[in-house]
């Protein structure tokens, strides 16, 4: 697991190396002290931190390095799957881009599966292969990344894409999604997106949309299909 705020996720009172070593001690108690430390130093250099910094406390590292240290922490047990919750939102664009590249290449090297949780569509476009769009507690559309970006089926996916500014291509007017995310204590009846949907129909108000498979092994939950 990689958490969102690198500044708050590391324990400020322990050295970075010790924090990473602790994970080995807990999950793999049979590993010897020396071998454990070897792995700590190895994993640090893998994420682009000089192993000599293992003796530093978190406050001695920059924001980008703290985030890298967290990635190291999640890698040290050789997991098969990593969940990253907004891993780069707290970082500056340049560092963000460096960390994303790092994650992508590590994923390739180690053959990891990565679940990326983020609100930032551009980060998804840079790093993910497939995409599930969530709204009010439900997944409304799922499919291959390229298909979703090129031909979004669910009106919410489409609206999200239209509301996102881009630095390349022709400057386009951004579209807003009216209203605000719903109160989950009493979600709207029928389709949960209907109060904000541009293509709302009568059936959307009363009936929960069924999940419809799309031809590319994805699915969408909308009455239009």
């Amino acid at each position: 697991m990689i958490f969102q705020g690198a500044m708050n996720a590391l324990n400020p009172l322990h050295r970075v190396g010790n924090q990473i070593h602790e994970v080995i001690k807990i999950h793999e108690p049979h590993v010897s002290e020396e071998e454990g430390w070897e792995r700590v130093l190895d994993v640090l250099s893998r994420v682009g931190i000089d192993p000599s910094r293992a003796k530093d406390y978190p406050h001695q590292l920059s924001g980008g390095m703290q985030q890298r240290a967290l990635i190291a922490l999640s890698l040290v047990n050789n997991p098969d799957i990593i969940m990253a919750d907004e891993p780069v939102t707290a970082l500056d664009v340049i560092v963000q881009s460096q960390v994303l590249k790092e994650m992508k290449s590590l994923q390739g090297q180690l053959g990891l599966s990565l679940i990326m949780i983020t609100h930032d569509l551009s980060v998804i476009a840079e790093i993910c292969d497939s995409l599930a769009v969530m709204y009010a507690g439900q997944i409304v559309e799922y499919g291959k990344l390229r298909n979703l970006f090129k031909e979004p089926r669910h009106p919410y996916t489409e609206a999200l894409l239209n509301s996102f500014p881009s630095i390349t291509g022709v400057k386009k007017e951004l579209m807003e999604i009216p209203g605000a995310p719903p109160d989950l204590l009493n979600p709207p009846t029928g389709c949960r997106f209907h109060p904000r949907c541009m293509k709302v129909m009568d059936i959307c108000l009363s009936e929960d949309p069924k999940i419809v498979s799309t031809n590319d092994k994805g699915y969408v939950a909308c009455h239009l299909y």
């Binding site: 500056d92 664009v93 980060v123 476009a125 970006f149 509301s163 400057k171 807003e176």
Partner: protein, 340 residues
Amino acid sequence: MMSNDLIIEIKDLRKYYPIYKGFIKSIFSKEKTYVHAVDGINFNIKAGETLGLVGESGCGKTTAGLLLLKLIEPTSGSIFFQGVDIATLSEHEIKEIRKKMQIIFQNPYESLSPRFNVLDAIAEPLRLLKVLKDEKAILERVKDTLKAVGLPQTEDFFERFPHELSGGQRQRIGVARAFVLNPLFIVADEPVSMLDVSIRVGVLRIMKELVQQFRTGFLFITHDLALARYMCDRVAVMYLGRIVEEGKTEEIIQNPLHPYTKALISAVPIPDPDARRTKDIPITGEVPSGIFLPLGCRFHPRCIYAKEECRETDPELVRTNDNDHFVACIRYNEIMNDNN
């Protein structure tokens, strides 16, 4: 008003924060160290124009915004507001001018008082600066402003407190508080970075419309070049307390000259899977601290184009061939040719 509609013009503005040492150390050493938050910046903003101030965190964008409103005292330099230098004015003298300049804060969850309802929050600037005395007139003005920012104007809504509002509504209140005085100049410090993506655009659009309607001078502080592209007429890119490049937004994005701007633009993720770049970002390391600045060009330790010269010469912001495009790099001409 001046002939060319100039709202604000700053010249060689600086803000240094001294670093305090312990008592014993201060006895033995007279030497003082400073954080060079803003280190000699110049720009101007015309009526109805939006200038984007872009840069990484810690580059001095926010300090520059606060300086312009004189919410903090500049170390040196001048701030001309409609031709009057306000940098030297006293707290008392500046009070009249405060009516004409406002700020929109970053975090709408913290910038609104939890004990003020919607009506009081928006009416506060009017009451405080005694712009309108009659409560009826205040109510009318608040209603007009609420309408302009796209919020309901009902009795029920007036009595809501911030915790009963969504993030988007709160930031709209923040925008309303700034625009209720019809100011000539507004600083917006990352106004949408705390909002959900789906409601960002609404708040941006409202600010854009109001700026055009009231012909306000608008300083938009952001780290997001894609947002700046949507909002701003011109952008100024800051690095370590200096402006390294300035020009029309599209010109800067299509044709960046400073190596730092190039790096910044190439680092912005693109929301299009087919546009994945294979090129590496031409930049290494992270922003150095503002205390011990690199000699010569401040960017040289991270710059891939850096030469011996860059270590010695501190480049000035110079006009390029294109009229409204300024850059602070001694090698920009060579680098430009290098790209072709």
